[in-house]
C-alpha cells in the first residue's frame, strides 16, 4: 500500500504548477451515504493552505460538522476516485470523497 500512496503523491506533485507553492489550495469534498445525511450536503468546496493533508481536511470538516465524527473510523477515503489515506497531501482542484458503507438492501 505504501508504494501506491507514494505513486499518488508523485503523480499529484507532477500535475501541480510550481507557482502555486506557498499559497492556498481549493479542493472539492464529496459526501456519500451517511456523510450526506450528517452534513446535509453532497459536496463542499474547501480552501486549505497548501501542503495540507487529507487529515487536515477531515479536521476542518469535523470542526464544521461535529456529527461527522461518528463515521470517521469506518469509511473509505478516496482522492480523485482512488483509495487514499489521511497522510496524503491534497492538491489544488483535488476531489476528496468520504464514503461510509451502506448496509441496506
Amino acid at each position: 500500500m505504501d508504494v501506491t500512496d507514494r505513486e499518488i503523491k508523485t503523480k499529484n506533485a507532477e500535475c501541480k504548477p510550481a507557482e502555486n507553492k506557498g499559497s492556498s489550495v481549493q479542493i472539492k469534498v464529496l459526501f456519500f451515504a451517511r456523510a450526506r445525511d450528517l452534513t446535509g450536503l453532497t459536496e463542499l468546496p474547501l480552501e486549505l493552505s497548501s501542503g495540507s493533508t487529507a487529515q487536515d481536511c477531515l479536521n476542518k470538516l469535523v470542526a464544521r460538522f461535529p456529527s461527522l465524527e461518528e463515521i470517521l473510523g469506518s469509511m473509505v477515503l478516496a482522492l480523485n476516485e482512488e483509495y487514499t489515506n489521511e497522510s496524503v497531501i491534497v492538491q489544488d482542484k483535488d476531489e476528496l470523497a468520504l464514503i461510509p458503507p451502506i448496509s441496506g438492501g
Partner: protein, 469 residues
C-alpha cells in the same frame, strides 16, 4: 323495469361467473396436460441426446453428419440462450461455464429480487436462495420478484416459484432460514459464488468472513435512500469487506430500509448489477468489479467508480498473519461486534420505569375521559406527514431541547382546570419516545410519559384502520 334490469344483471353475473369457473377449470386441465406432454418430450430428447453422446464418443465422424456440435448445450439450451451465444465475447464458452456454475443469493428482498430474476433467466446451473422473512405489502414497491398472491408467505417460497416459472431448467435450492454462523459454512460451501443481498451490517461482516474462510468470491451490493454501492470482495487477491471497513460503523450510521426509506428502483439497479458481476465471474468473462467500488447516485444520475485499497496485510480475517479459522467463525458474535441485530425485527428499548409509560389503550381511555393533556410526536417531520394522531404536535427528537418553550406553552393552554395538563410522548415504535421522555424529565417536565410501542401499537391495539408504514 329497473328492478327487472337489476334482477336480470344479477342472473347474468352468476351465469358469467359459473361459465368463467368452468372455463378456468378446463384451462387448468389443458395446462396440466401440456406440461406433462412437454416433460415427456424433454425426457425423450434427453435420452436421445445421451444416445447421441454415446455414439459421438465411439464414432464422432459419422455422427457429425447430422450436426457438428462441439459443446454440451442441449438443443433447447441453444435456443433459449441464443442471444448469449451470439455474443462473441460471451458465446458458447461463457454460457457453458454459466450452466455449470452455482450461485447463492442471500436475501430475497430489494437487491435479491432483480438479482434472482436475472440469474434464473440467464441459466445458472444451480441457484440457492436464503431468506427467513415473509412477503409484506410494503415490500412490493421494490421486491419485484414477489406477487401480491404471496403476501404472508415465505419470501424464499415466493422467489423460488417465480424463478422456476422463468426457467424450469435451473435447479433452485430453498433455504427458508436466517443465515447464522451455525449454518453459514455448510450452506455457502456448496456454491461457487455468493451474492450478498442482505440489509444489515452484522450479516455483511458474517458473509464476508465466511467467504474468506471458504475462499469464495463475494458480490456485495447495498442500497439505501437514493444511493447504492457495489463491489466484488475476496476475488483474485482483492480485499475483503473487513479490509475496507475493519471497524463497524456505529449503529445509527447504518439504518435499514425499514427505518430510512428507499426508492424502489435503486436496489433494483444495484441488484441487476450484482447479477451482472456474478454472471461475469461464473462465465469467466470480462473484468469483475474487484478492487473497485461502484457508487450509484440516483438523484444526480451519477455513477462513480472508485479504486479501493487492495487486500490489507493487517486484515484480521484475510491478512497475512490472520489465522481466522472455521471454528473461530462459528464462535464469532457478529451482533455484538456490530452492535446491531441480525434479524430484521426492530430493537425494543426499555429505558424508562413503568410509571413513566402508558399503553396505547390507556392513552385512548385518557382521550375518551377528556383528560387535559398535550401529545408530542417526536418523529421526523416527513414521518409526521405520512400519518399522525389527532391534536398531536410534531417536535422531532433532534430539535426537542431547543423547542421546549412550545411544550410549556401548549401545556398552559390545555390546563383548563388549573390542576395541570399531562404530557405524553409518541413516536413510531416507542424507542425515540423513551429517549424524549428521559430528556424531558431531565429538563423539569417530570410528568412526561411515553406511549409504549408508539403508533405501531396504536394501529395494532386501538385503531386497526390507522395506517402503518
Amino acid at each position: 323495469m329497473e328492478t327487472n334490469g337489476v334482477g336480470g344483471s344479477a342472473a347474468d353475473m352468476s351465469r358469467i361467473l359459473s361459465e368463467l369457473e368452468t372455463l378456468k377449470t378446463a384451462k387448468n386441465d389443458i395446462d396440466r396436460r401440456i406440461s406433462a406432454l412437454e416433460a415427456q418430450l424433454r425426457d425423450t430428447t434427453n435420452i436421445q441426446d445421451k444416445n447421441d453422446t454415446v455414439s459421438n464418443g465411439s464414432c464422432p465422424l459419422i455422427s457429425a453428419v447430422h450436426s457438428n456440435i462441439n459443446h454440451d448445450l442441449t438443443p433447447d439450451s441453444v435456443y433459449r440462450y441464443s442471444r448469449h451465444l451470439l455474443l462473441p465475447s460471451f458465446g458458447v464458452q461463457g454460457q457453458s461455464n454459466l450452466l455449470k456454475s452455482s450461485i447463492l443469493v442471500i436475501g430475497a428482498g430489494g437487491l435479491g429480487s432483480p438479482a434472482l430474476l436475472y440469474l434464473a433467466a440467464c441459466g445458472v446451473g444451480r441457484l440457492g436462495i436464503v431468506d427467513h422473512d415473509v412477503v409484506e405489502l410494503n415490500n412490493m414497491h421494490r421486491q419485484v420478484i414477489h406477487t401480491e398472491a404471496y403476501i404472508g408467505q415465505p419470501k424464499v417460497k415466493s422467489a423460488a416459484a417465480t424463478c422456476r416459472s422463468i426457467n424450469s431448467t435451473v435447479q433452485i435450492v430453498e433455504y427458508q432460514e436466517a443465515l447464522r454462523t451455525s449454518n453459514a459454512l455448510e450452506i455457502l460451501s456448496q456454491y461457487d459464488i455468493v451474492v450478498d443481498a442482505t440489509d444489515n451490517a452484522p450479516s455483511r461482516y458474517m458473509i464476508s468472513d465466511c467467504c474468506v474462510v471458504l475462499g469464495k468470491p463475494l458480490v456485495s451490493g447495498a442500497a439505501l435512500g437514493l444511493e447504492g454501492q457495489l463491489t466484488v470482495y475476496n476475488y483474485n487477491g482483492g480485499p475483503c469487506y473487513r479490509c475496507l471497513f475493519p471497524t463497524p460503523p456505529p449503529t445509527s450510521a447504518c439504518q435499514r430500509c425499514s427505518d430510512s426509506g428507499v426508492l424502489g428502483v435503486v436496489p433494483g439497479i444495484i441488484g441487476c448489477l450484482q447479477a451482472l458481476e456474478a454472471i461475469k465471474i461464473a462465465g469467466a468473462v470480462g473484468e469483475p468489479l474487484s478492487g473497485r467500488m461502484l457508487l450509484f447516485d440516483a438523484l444526480s444520475a451519477r455513477i462513480r467508480i472508485v479504486k479501493i485499497r487492495g487486500r490489507s496485510s493487517q486484515c484480521e480475517v484475510c491478512g497475512e498473519n490472520s489465522a481466522f479459522t472455521q471454528q473461530q467463525f462459528k464462535n464469532f458474535d457478529y451482533e455484538k461486534f456490530t452492535q446491531a441485530p441480525l434479524s430484521t425485527l426492530p430493537v425494543k428499548l426499555n429505558l424508562l420505569p413503568e410509571d413513566s409509560r402508558i399503553s396505547s389503550k390507556e392513552y385512548k381511555e385518557k382521550i375518551d375521559n377528556g383528560e387535559a393533556h398535550v401529545l408530542v410526536d417526536v418523529r421526523p417531520e416527513h414521518h409526521f406527514k405520512i400519518v399522525s394522531l389527532p391534536n398531536s404536535i410534531n417536535i422531532p427528537l433532534a430539535s426537542l431541547e431547543v423547542r421546549l418553550p412550545e411544550i410549556s406553552k401548549a401545556l398552559k393552554e390545555e390546563d383548563n382546570s388549573g390542576s395541570g395538563a399531562s404530557l405524553y410522548v409518541v413516536c413510531r415504535r416507542g424507542n425515540d419516545s423513551q429517549r424524549a421522555v428521559q430528556c424531558l424529565q431531565k429538563m423539569g417536565f417530570n410528568s412526561a410519559r411515553d406511549i409504549i410501542g408508539g403508533l405501531e401499537s396504536w394501529g395494532h391495539d386501538v385503531d386497526p384502520n390507522f395506517p402503518t408504514y
